[in-house]
């Protein structure tokens, strides 16, 4: 007689967690894209361990709003942009969608730029790396099923371990790092406020917020999964912060120590690491950039496609065929092709695209957070999951913080 072994409760729980896991980890880690790594590198290179607390605050904000986004997605079965249209009207929905498309296009260009720059560290031309990347992510989304795509996203996420390795190889001053994390101090100058705002903005990105909600809808997660999904979101957001931490301490221990503070992109940080922490550290850091860019470059067009479909109310699911969801796939293709094309133009200066997409992201972040705040307290939409007083105070506090950062950054931009 065959004996059936019924898995123990613990095993089952882990199994259930793994089945639900994905949205939080993927959305979180894709915030650590090349632009994010650049920002963290700058923070570490310019200010050492001193501003690590900014990352802690950003991570908390990320946890809180990703958690809210996941909850809204599961409870309402609708993406963020669709809900904005429903609750705040056609113009609000369209404004958010158009701003998101433009900002995502800019960010996507930045991801390709990241791939190109990191490829050049290994001596590979951008005319190879960029088309290959575009081909890879299109094939992933167009050919694969939801499950397959998610698996690849996970494998890409594993690349982030390289930052932890690089962090240890740089022998940071752990005591100073912990001090910087828990004791807030803020030098009152333009650079410090700029980098603090950029850190908050790159961690809590609009497309990430839109993505987690739509992805939870596409994954057909239900209220029964909500507990596990929240665990997933917390783990994913915390990992995002941990990766950021290691990037900052790597740069603090090496670049800041040697007073190399003028870092303008992540690959430059990798190159600067070479004489200080060895060729291996440089290579590991560069591989991390490529993995980060690939993950974010897969998620960004996906997030955009979800949002556009959501606005129009047309179907959007990774398991749909092209003729079932043409708008979804066309948006995906358009974002990928246009961003890839921009990078390929010989001698093009991308700096204005990158800066304007960052500004657009900052402009967009505030209303999106405010819309989420409004949705979270809407009893008609959220039912028993409507936000309580304490949650609303927390959301409000984070929105106020973001508002202060965004406004002060604008103040600096227009007072150049």
């Amino acid at each position: 007689m065959t004996q059936v072994t019924i898995p123990s409760g613990r095993k089952l729980r882990i199994a259930a967690f793994l089945a639900v896991m994905g949205p939080g980890v993927i959305a979180g880690l894709s915030d650590d894209d090349p632009a994010g790594i650049t920002t963290y590198s700058q923070l570490g290179a310019q200010f050492g361990y001193r501003l690590l607390w900014v990352l802690v605050v950003s991570t908390i904000a990320l946890i809180v709003f990703q958690d809210l986004g996941a909850r809204i997605g599961v409870v309402t079965r609708q993406g963020l942009i669709g809900l904005v249209r429903q609750k705040y009207g056609a113009r609000a929905g369209s404004f958010s969608a158009v701003a998101l498309i433009l900002a995502n296009l800019g960010t996507m260009t930045a991801e390709f730029a990241g791939v190109a720059a990191a490829g050049q560290l290994f001596g590979i031309s951008r005319y190879w790396t960029v088309p290959l990347t575009g081909f890879f992510i299109s094939a992933l989304v167009l050919r694969g099923t939801f499950k397959k795509a998610e698996r690849v996203f996970f494998i890409l996420s594993a690349v982030f371990i390289s930052y932890i390795v690089a962090g240890f190889m740089s022998h940071p001053h752990w005591g100073a790092a912990i001090h910087g994390m828990v004791v807030p101090s803020m030098p009152f100058n333009r650079d410090a406020i700029n980098i603090a705002t950029a850190t908050l903005g790159t961690t809590l990105a609009p497309w990430g917020l839109a993505f987690i909600q739509s992805y939870a809808v596409d994954k057909r997660l239900t209220r029964a999964d909500l507990k596990l999904l929240r665990a997933d979101v917390w783990v994913g957001s915390a990992l995002t912060g941990i990766i950021g931490f290691f990037v900052i301490v790597t740069c603090a221990a090496t670049l800041n120590h040697e007073h190399i503070t003028n870092i303008t992109d992540a690959s430059q940080a990798a190159r600067a690491l070479q004489p200080l922490a060895g060729t291996l550290a440089k290579d590991i850091f560069a591989i991390g950039i490529i993995g980060a860019a690939l993950l974010a470059a897969s998620i960004l067009p996906l997030s955009t496609a979800y949002s556009v479909s959501d606005l129009t109310g047309s179907p959007a699911a990774l398991d749909d065929k092209f003729d079932e969801a043409p708008l979804f796939y066309l948006t995906f293709a358009a974002i990928t092709v246009v961003a890839g094309g921009l990078i390929m133009i010989p001698g093009v200066s991308l700096i204005w695209i990158l800066i304007s997409s960052q500004i657009l992201n900052a402009i967009l972040l505030l209303p999106l957070l405010a819309y989420m705040f409004g949705i979270s307290r809407d009893k008609k939409l959220m039912g028993e999951f409507v936000a309580g007083k304490r949650a609303l105070i927390l959301y409000g506090a984070i929105i106020a913080l973001v508002a202060i950062c965004v406004l002060s950054q604008f103040w600096f931009i227009f007072n150049l």
Binding site: V4, K11, G82, A90, A224
Partner: protein
């Protein structure tokens, strides 16, 4: 059901467009269409043309009439929202509403049963497109005077109309009748009592395959899900529920009343219901079981108590049992009475003590004289039977040895208590495989 009346779901059946009795097809109506989206925020004026306030929302009543009449306007007067009775409307144009008298009662608005707010509850909300089998969004609604009242006559789900609304000024108010779907082909379920029962759309819904319906239900969230279920014929709803994913179903039941859940679960195949009930928490399960007829509840309680990994946990208890002493005609009669059930492909014959003797196919019964006794048909091959606690693996073995379409489950006294059909086994196995492969946990 005690949920507050609220607008929640509308259903569009485009295949009904083209019916000649539709209002939209009348020229007088087509020419007087007013876009709701364009009207919101426009002035409400008295007969002398003086502005009273700005339109905030339009209140309609859903009832017997196909085209819901406007019962009132919500108007912002001096920064306060007030209600104006719909009977006061004398003229409706795309850019303004004129009232019939200068004396106006401004009352505070409170929603009466069966009423909904067009802007707050319907516009830009999700509706079910039965024809396209998907969930879409309302781009616009159209009002027109008809039968002495202003009524909702059409709905628009096109993206073009959505874009039109983004334009400033009068461009945003121009109707685009080509994209309008007549309200008669829209069933809108405005509260949990299902006030609107447009026959056309209910039948359009009932023509859907249960699996498609299950997909539609899964695409909607809590309140809308409940509303769609309420709208369906209970048997069809039960069929659709059987097609839903376990997690989805669990979430859905949480949103329904215990009575409604009980009704639906009673109509599902017992093994499917038991599987759902098993996953619920104790309190919720008991409240549903208590709302059922006691016989059904008792049967389900027993099924729920079995482990999913053994025969008892996956069997259906719906079996047709006859004593060997009855006539073939009686057995056939029983089959006819239960023809709706999937397990009605034959009868189980038992002796006077209720012990299993044989499984006799319908074909065998038809082939003989109706007045002969069932006992005469008992012959080899005898059916395969397993006990309640037989592990699934062994059930599979039995199936592959015998190549039958079902296996009978007996208790320790040899009495038949259920059957396992091949599809139950497929469900049980695929469910396990899905769960274990994702986690990498293997079974030894």
């Amino acid at each position: 059901m005690k949920r507050p009346p609220v607008a929640s779901i509308n259903t569009v059946a485009k295949r009904l467009v083209g019916r000649s009795d539709l209002l939209i097809s009348r020229k007088s109506v087509r020419d007087s269409l007013v876009s709701l989206a364009g009207l919101i925020g426009r002035p409400v004026v008295d007969p002398d043309g003086r502005e009273i306030g700005r339109l905030v929302d339009v209140v309609v009543r859903h009832g017997e009439e196909t085209y819901p009449p406007v019962t009132g306007l919500i108007v912002k007067v001096a920064n306060r929202k007030s209600f104006i009775n719909g009977a006061r409307i004398s003229q409706l144009t795309p850019s303004s509403i004129t009232l019939s008298s200068t004396k106006i009662n401004l009352e505070p608005f409170s929603r009466r049963p069966g009423e909904s707010l067009l802007d707050a509850d319907v516009l830009d909300h999700q509706i079910v497109d039965v024809d396209g089998l998907r969930v879409v969004r309302t781009s616009d609604l159209y009002l027109a005077p008809f039968n002495k009242e202003v009524r909702v006559v059409g709905v628009d789900i096109s993206f073009v109309s959505f874009l039109r609304r983004l334009f400033p000024g009068s461009l945003s108010r121009r109707p685009t009748p080509d994209h309008v779907i007549d309200w008669a082909s829209v069933a809108s379920l405005m509260d949990s009592h299902g006030v609107v029962r447009t026959s056309g759309t209910r039948s359009a819904l009932s023509q859907l395959r249960p699996a498609d319906l299950a997909d539609l239900i899964e695409d909607l969230a809590g309140r809308e899900q409940g509303a769609l279920i309420e709208m369906l014929d209970p048997d069809l709803a039960a069929d659709a529920l059987e097609e839903m994913e376990d997690d989805e179903l669990e979430g859905l039941l949480r949103g329904l009343s215990a009575e409604r859940s009980a009704e639906l679960l009673s109509r599902m195949e017992p093994d499917e219901s038991a599987e759902v009930l098993r996953d619920l928490d104790d309190e919720h399960r008991e409240s549903i079981l208590n709302a059922m007829e006691s016989a059904t509840a008792k049967q389900l309680r027993q099924l729920v108590s079995f482990d999913e990994e053994v025969a008892g946990g996956i069997m259906t208890t719906h079996i047709l049992v006859v004593k060997s002493t009855v006539t073939v005609a009686d057995a056939l009669q029983l089959l006819v009475e239960n023809r709706e059930r999937e397990s009605s492909d034959g009868v189980l014959v038992v002796d006077s003590k209720g012990k299993l003797l044989d499984h006799i196919q319908t074909v065998e019964l038809i082939a003989v004289d109706p007045q002969s006794l069932v006992s005469e048909l008992i012959a080899k091959p005898f059916p395969t039977a397993v006990t309640i606690d037989t592990p699934i693996e062994e059930v599979v073995e039995e199936f592959s040895n015998n190549r039958g379409s079902s296996i009978i489950v007996i208790d320790e006294k040899n009495k038949p208590i259920g059957r396992i059909l091949a599809d139950d086994l497929v469900d049980a196995l695929s469910k396990n495989r899905g769960r274990f492969s994702q986690s990498g946990v293997t079974r030894s």
